[in-house]
Amino acid sequence: MKRIRVWLTLLLWILMAALLSSCLESSSPHIAIDKTRNIHMIVKMNRGDYWNTVKMGAEAAAKEFNVKLTFKAPGTESDVKEQIAMVEDSIKGQADVIILAASSYMGLAQVVDKAAYYRIPVISVDAEVGSARVTTYIGSSGYEAGQKSAKRLVQLLNGSGEIGVLNFTNTPDKQESGSESDIDYGARDADEREKGFLNYVARYPSVHVVDISYTPSVTSEAEELTRLMLIKHPNLRGIAALNETASQGAAAVLRERGLRSIKMVAFDSSPTMMEQIQEGIVQATVIQNPFSNGYLAVKNAVEILQGIKVPERVDTGTKLIDLDNMLWPENQKLLFPFVR
């Protein structure tokens, strides 16, 4: 008799539980924010509108997902050693996740492996790093961006003329030593953009890339390089700058000299660059989605910590902006961070 009672009771309980659970709707899973996450974000440089916007995006996500965000960046984009030290620091600081915009594709590979050894997930943002241990990459395709830039510049030049490219890299000694080693020490995004640009331009026999200069991330040096380029190539008809600093430097020189005949396609969307477009100094700029990059990096970091599967690669896209479309509402939203 007791056994039956036990079974009956059990049956009743199950019935009740089923009844109750069917009534109380279970809410769909969303990212739990009850625990504070410790996420370190290390980008290439602590200056520049681009990185500020990345930071803004990261901070927006940090606020939303209850993340303690530690934002770190060296003074210049070429300071690989400093960046490595920062990653080491984050490993020691036992970050939950490290978000890294690598200044050097190979230069940071080892330290990323080390982080992975300590079971700290690493998310690549903007620039990839040469490690298989990276959990996910968030950013735009540099190759595509380079092609977009080239396409517009060729259009502006009507398919002929000399072009100077102003790229950035983090190993200034590479040029000096001239040793084109097997290992790619440059920043991945810079290389990709250049490759994309050159590949596109190669289709036009009458367009010649006469000079490629590499600037460290200081505007004054970029200006210097631009001046040098202008002196070296008096017939230069177009300039393509492949990052924010280079763009600002080149635009400043063009404006200073009043050289309206030289067409320029810039990179990234700092307010100064927008002004240059409005002033007609720069004809177009290729923009990325820095806010989205920052935001998605932190969001994915939180998702990884909660065991949610994230895609291996998130392409946030690039866009070409010129005077005609810069005031389109959807582009305004991308170009100018909403500051209250």
Binding site: S28, A60, M274, Q278, Y295, L323, L327, F336, R340
Partner: protein, 608 residues
């Protein structure tokens, strides 16, 4: 003892060897049925009532939450209305100042507009343009950019169409150098005086989102809830996560919002239940949309859920416990009764049932006890009867060769022989021989009445030799009664009694009349003597065995009586009528039965 009884009652049900179907029978026990019924009814009622209440409360809670939220959004709407009105007032003030001032480029106008601008944190700039787009006045003064493409912008186009102040959607103001600010623009065609001539121009006032932000920030709709503002075209004017929306990282489902000016509904498009409340600002056509997460705002419901989760199992547990106890209380006496009866069934008749419980059960137990008592009594009676029967038969057996009687009779024979009365000796010996023959009857207990009467006749013949001329006897029998069966040796003790107690002491000659007849299916034999008779007390004691003649043949009258009763039933037997000095009549009555085989009858007939 038990075993003995078991042998005694071979037909009594034996203890069941195997308990087949124990489980099913247990399932159908009163307690289980009661428990299940009580529990299920109680649980059903509890659940139904709880859910009815729950739904009622939940609905009320939902309504309250919705109402509360609507009030909050209403408040925001009101505040925003006030704010927009304030902005309009500023616009009118500026318009007034510009219109009244004699020259558009006078420093005084610049001054007063600057003061107005600085009075509010949210004002960004004042500017007047000619309808062709030339800048006439700007406060604060800043160089204008080239390629502003203002002709394409809504704030520039709208005043040309409408007379009233128009509010633009949020946009980046690209007119002036040094800043790209997100603003909302108010614009209208106004009149101003330039170099003495009255001209028409567009007054543009930009304001930023500071105040709107602050107004919307006050909205507390649970932890995650928020409010946002849409313009009439569905562009987001303000959103707490505006940049995320602008970057395309978040979406707001604005279509259902745009369809209504005033609405509250439950939205599940994001997979989560959300309350959406829409209010429209009349001045600008902006829509204030409140978004609250259902599970956060309807906290009452969640509390209720928790309470229910606690209360329901608890109450059901209580119900189960109570029903188990209750049913146990009801069922225990019955199952106890069942066990006791089982004991009885197994043969222990001495079990006394003393079950306390419900009235019916107690009654049942009492009645059962009574029944048991009766069974015990009957059982005792049967045992007693059986024993008596055997004893009686033994006595009869003994009486068949009563040595005393034989001795007396043989003495009489000797005496007769001495006197040389050969004929009488022969008769006597003949009678004696027949007497014993019938007495023995091959060991049978039942003989025909004919034989019985023969037997008594021989006895009387023998006795008449002993009591010389002391008595006479008459034996009358209806012919049809002769073939009836009877227990043997029933008349001899009676006649013996009559002789020894009634007639022997009598001075006169006695008479013994024996008559047998069939009366209403009964064999009635009367033995009458005219002897001394008996007193009433003797009469009473005679059947109870109190009176016992010491010199009798051994089988008493009582033995006869009991044998008849044992064989035929309690209502049959002997009855005595007696009066002192008059005589005694003994009536023997028992049902008439006929032997199925005629052997005894024919034998008896032969011996007559």
């Amino acid at each position: 003892m038990l075993k003995e009884r078991a042998n005694f009652f071979p037909l009594r049900p034996q203890r069941r060897g195997t308990r087949r179907g124990k489980f099913t029978s247990r399932l159908l026990s009163i307690q289980v049925i009661l428990t299940v019924t009580l529990t299920s009814i109680a649980v059903l009622v509890t659940v139904i009532v709880s859910f009815a209440l729950y739904n009622r409360f939940a609905k009320t809670a939902e309504e309250n939450a919705s109402l509360n939220m609507q009030q909050i959004i209403e408040q925001v709407n009101y505040n925003l209305g006030l704010y927009v009105n304030g902005m309009r007032n500023i616009y009118k003030k500026a318009e007034q100042q510009i219109g009244q001032n004699a020259a558009i480029d006078s420093p005084m106008l610049q001054e007063s507009l600057s003061t107005l601008l600085e009075s509010r944190e949210d004002l960004v700039s004042f500017a007047v343009f000619t309808p062709e787009g030339r800048l006439v006045l700007d406060v604060p003064s800043a160089p204008m950019r080239r390629n502003t493409r203002m002709g394409e912008q809504s704030w520039f186009i709208a005043p040309k169409k409408a007379g009233d102040i128009s509010f633009s959607q949020p946009h980046v103001q690209n007119l002036f150098k040094k800043r790209y600010t997100w603003v909302v623009s108010m614009s209208k065609m106004i009149a101003y005086t330039d170099h003495g001539t009255r001209k028409k121009g567009i007054l543009l006032i930009d304001f930023n989102f500071r105040t709107i932000d602050e107004l919307s920030k006050q909205v507390k709709l649970g932890k995650r809830g928020y409010a946002y503002i849409l313009d009439s075209l569905g562009n987001i004017v303000y959103h707490p996560q505006q940049q995320l929306i602008y970057a395309g990282l978040k979406y707001e489902n604005v279509e259902p919002v745009l369809e209504y000016a005033y609405r509250s509904y439950l939205d599940e498009s994001t997979g989560e239940k959300r309350f959406i409340t829409v209010r429209t600002l009349n001045q600008t056509g902006w829509k204030i949309v409140g978004v609250a997460y259902y599970d956060e705002i309807v906290t009452t419901k969640r509390d209720l859920n928790q309470f229910m989760m606690l209360f329901l199992p608890l109450s059901i547990l209580c119900v189960i416990v109570v029903s188990v106890l209750l049913s146990a209380r009801i069922a225990r006496p019955i199952s106890k009764l069942e066990r006791t009866v089982q004991q009885v069934v197994e043969g222990d008749l001495n079990t006394s049932i003393n079950v306390r419980g419900a009235y019916e059960v107690e009654q049942l137990s009492k009645r059962f006890n009574l029944m048991l008592q009766r069974i015990r009594k009957l059982m005792d009676q049967i045992i007693y009867e059986q024993e008596t029967k055997r004893k009686g038969e033994l006595e009869v057996l003994q009486s068949q060769i009563n040595p005393h009687f034989l001795y007396n009779t043989l003495n009489s024979v000797i005496r007769l022989a001495e006197r040389g009365k050969n004929e009488e000796v022969v008769t006597m010996i003949q009678s004696l021989s027949k007497f014993f023959r019938i007495s023995l009857s091959k060991g049978k207990n039942i003989i025909t009445l004919r034989e019985e009467l023969d037997h008594i006749r021989h006895y009387l013949v023998i006795q008449s030799f002993r009591f010389k001329n002391k008595f006479r006897y008459e034996i009358k029998a209806q012919p049809e009664v002769l073939n009836c069966l009877t227990v043997k040796l029933i008349l001899q003790p009676i006649v013996e009694n009559a002789l020894y107690h009634g007639i022997e002491m009598m001075p006169d000659e006695g008479l013994i009349e024996i008559a047998a007849e069939l009366r209403n299916g009964l064999v009635v034999i009367t033995v009458r003597d005219n002897g001394l008779g008996m007193s009433g007390e003797t009469l009473k004691g005679i059947l109870k065995g109190g009176v016992k003649s010491g010199s009798g043949s051994g089988v008493g009258v009582r033995n006869v009586h009991e044998r008849i009763r044992l064989y035929y039933g309690r209502e049959y037997g002997l009855s005595f009528e007696s009066e002192l000095e008059e005589g005694t009549t003994v009536t023997v009555a028992f049902p008439a039965q006929y032997g199925d085989d005629g052997e005894t009858a024919t034998e008896g007939a032969k011996s007559l």
